[in-house]
């Protein structure tokens, strides 16, 4: 090896770093894990994150970690009203997730859930404001339904048309439409509210009737039913099949003769319209008014719910419940731990999300650590040879 000009010294000095023989840890891609194990990993992540959260919270207050869990469950399930609110909020978030999921399955990143909810709510409130009292509710409510669906659909289809015809980036487009929707809401409130308070008092016309004496039940039933329907739509219909093909491989879709533009536009009409329905319920059944905060950021929270559920509408029922459970529970924790602002609650929610998302890493990969010290490694290797 005399002819080696450079590099040789490097090699020898390098080889002397004995303890660096093997990398500290390596990642090995797993085979597909059985469902039971996946559920177990998620469960561990959730429990671990909550334990960690309880410790953090008790560090910042005089209460103990057990009190954290008491408050958490009390906030979410402490009274029948709290349980109903938990279910209602879950249903609403599920509604938004159901709206987003066909678009996401098509890899159309609809970040405009908030805007689509808002215009849906605004359309319903407009009907209530202008026509309330002038016609019976039995006529007004169907009108609101149509108006909200149309408004949401328009808000959804606009970016779809631009994406299909000009290849515009849908994420930015839908995001921008959120601001326009909020602007529209402010504008109408300014027009409607003469007092200048900027708050539209709840309108008494066009309120949805109670179902079996419960004002929550209708919302819960509608959105859980929509989720089930969406599951069927995506899994068993020709439309759903086309959405999957377009999302997974646009070139294959073209090759097979699927009209990609049509599918994009059609799916976003559905996506927007469903978000509009959530707006309808917020306006007609829950708040009876509208503000720029009506969407309560569900357009973004729901993204989380769809991803965690791997775009399966049935699993989304669970992820939505989980997200709402944590956030409602944390409201109570915040109260009973005497936290004066939202930050710690938000940190905890963030921590839980982080753990849940991070654990998906362990579902895909296995981490193999270096066997401690070179000697052990050597011993193992010789053993391997003997075998």
């Amino acid at each position: 090896m005399e002819k080696q000009p450079s590099g040789m010294e490097n090699v020898t000095s390098y080889a002397q770093e004995k303890d660096k023989k093997e990398p500290l840890f390596r990642l090995i891609k797993r085979d597909v894990l059985p469902k039971r194990k996946i559920v177990l990993i998620y469960a561990i992540a959730i429990v671990a994150s909550l334990l960690l959260s309880s410790v953090i919270c008790s560090l910042f207050s005089s209460k103990n970690p057990v009190a954290f869990f008491v408050a958490l469950f009390d906030g979410a399930l402490g009274s029948s009203r709290r349980i109903w609110l938990l279910l209602q909020d879950t249903a609403l978030l599920l509604g938004v997730a159901v709206a987003l999921v066909p678009a996401f399955k098509m890899k159309f990143w609809n970040l405009g859930g908030n805007g689509q909810i808002l215009v849906g709510a605004l359309a319903a409130i407009s009907c209530m404001f202008y026509l309330g009292g002038k016609m019976p509710d039995a006529l007004l409510i169907p009108l609101m339904v149509v108006a909200s669906i149309l408004a949401g659909a328009v808000w959804g289809v606009l970016p779809a048309i631009f994406k299909a015809l000009f290849g515009t980036n849908e994420s930015l487009f839908t995001l921008m439409l959120n601001y326009i929707a909020a602007g529209l809401v402010s504008m109408f409130i300014t027009i409607w509210v003469k007092s200048g308070s900027g708050v539209l008092v709840p309108i008494e016309h066009g309120n949805f009737p109670e179902l079996f004496g419960s004002k929550y039940l209708l919302t819960v039933l509608v959105f859980f039913a929509l989720a089930a329907l969406m599951y069927v739509y995506l899994k068993y219909t020709k439309h759903g099949y086309e959405i999957a093909v377009v999302g997974d491989s646009p070139n294959t879709a073209k090759y097979i003769g699927i009209d990609v533009k049509r599918v994009i536009i059609r799916t976003m009409i559905i996506s927007g319209a469903l978000a509009g329905v959530v707006g309808l319920f917020l306006a007609g059944n829950i708040h009876h008014t509208v503000s720029t905060a009506t969407a309560n950021n569900m357009g973004f929270t729901a993204i989380m719910a769809t991803w965690l559920a791997a775009f399966n509408p049935l699993v989304m029922m669970g992820t939505c419940f989980f997200i709402i459970f944590i956030s409602r529970g944390m409201v109570e924790v915040r109260g009973s731990f005497n936290f004066t602002n939202d930050s710690i609650a938000n940190i905890v929610i963030g921590l839980v999300y982080f753990c849940v998302i991070a654990c998906s890493f362990f579902i895909t990969y296995k981490v193999v650590f270096r066997k401690s010290g070179a000697r052990v490694a050597k011993r193992n290797r010789t053993k391997g040879e003997e075998r």
Binding site: K3, G7, V11, A15, I28, K238, G240, S249, G257
Partner: protein, 570 residues
Amino acid sequence: MEKQTVIELRNITKRFGASVIANNNVSMDVKRGEILSVLGENGCGKTTLMNMLAGIYYPDEGKIIINGEEASIRSPKDAFRYNIGMIHQHFKLVDVFTAAENIVLGTGEGEKYDLKSAKTRILAMSEKYGFHIDLDKKVHEMSVSEKQTVEIIKVLYRGADVLILDEPTAVLTPQEITRLFDVLRAMREDGKSVLIITHKLNEVMEISDRVAVLRKGEHIATVNTADTTEKELADMMVGQKVTLNIDRPLPVDPELRLSVESLTLIGTEGKPVLDGISFGAYGGEILGIAGIAGSGQRELLESIAGLHHLESGTVTYFNPKKDKPITFYHKSYERVMELAHEGMLRYADGRDFTGKDEYGKSLSKKTVKALVNAGEIFFKEDEVINLREKTPLQIRELGVRFSFVPEDRLGMGLVGNMDITDNMMLRSYRRGKSVFVDRKAPEELANEIIASLQVVTPDTHTPVRRLSGGNVQKVLVGREIAAGPKVLMAAYPVRGLDINSSYTIYNLLTEQKKSGVAVVFVGEDLDVLLALCDRIMVIAGGKVMGTVDARTAKKEEIGLMMTGAAPAES
């Protein structure tokens, strides 16, 4: 004289997941100043093994000994410290950089960036080994062969003494291969060790000193090339006796099925990708299309399949329908009426069928349907269908029985995340009026294809991306053939397939040819093209250079035409 051993692999094992053992207890060595072929079928673990030398993977068990010292190669950077460099199958170059910039990229830690002196060094090296390279040319303007040259120089520039080339000849013309081999020999004379990963037996025989054969992750043997034969190597590689002959019957009454006239397609950069291409494909023959990768083969097939907007030219399909009854199986009601108005149809007794009764009144949809279903309506002549400017869906609705196996199987042709059943459905899911998809028939088809083509898969519900390359291709080809095509176009259908799978595909194509299908086969291996096809059309730079008889043509002749140098006389 015994050559010095540079690298020793001792009992190397590498697993992916619990079930996949890519390399099992492999021991072999590399000597100084030799060309060693690493031979094996696809998926036998040759690339994985080499990747462990190059620092891409780390072995689970076993050790690598370099120059007598145990080595730990944890990254490509480590590999370079041991003077090992790998040229990957997919080049890793920065497109907008020049050759020289790509070569110096990432070298010389802490040194001043001095392109000028680097160039001088590169030029000296090029001269020594006989490279032809323009150092100021940008990578995106280069041919595949030039890019490969840059990759090789890049590795040499980093001081590599052991070069690993992964399937280096796959994308080269015969002339370019000759040039590459000259360079490799020059390196061997200089004392470098060259490892070539390949599954092409003829090249192994031509270039290498020794051959290491891998099969299913295990090292079968390392033999001196001089002491072996192609046949023996093939047997070692496959593990059973294989016949290397492709059955090629003479075409029986070839009939013009597809005619392409002066087809021109402008690419996204405003330059013609296809420039006035004309040819005919005949039923009962296999038309081969040869050319350097990227000469327009892909675009040509995609244009015919209706995936591009053509600048000019015609694509015509001849449907052999004369005196045959028209059916709704491949034609829509609307198409039947269109043909009736064009005067293409007749009743069984010879009277014209125009879609009207004797008083000139239009027949009702029900009556027409009843007549067609009863088999009372016949074609007067062969149906001539213009395919220009038709979408794939329209083409199918016209009753054109076209099948197309595209080059990029998972990017176009199949949906990787879907299971085999759902992929079968791609062609047929629209059938019927129901809003729901019917998975029963596709499932049966999936099972049929799995059984008849011996697709290795746990079940029909495995996503196709998790199948191996050969099995993915079987699924695709199986589906396209199941559609009962009259014209079957296949782009690189055996790319990345092992010998056995390749021969399955060749046999399938020949079967189709025998049953009267016009087969268009785009291939890259000239030996295969010459053995499989009846005629071979050579294209270069989007132009037809000539068409030759595959039974008499010489490989060198085609190779020359592929470079666009001299069109054939025929």
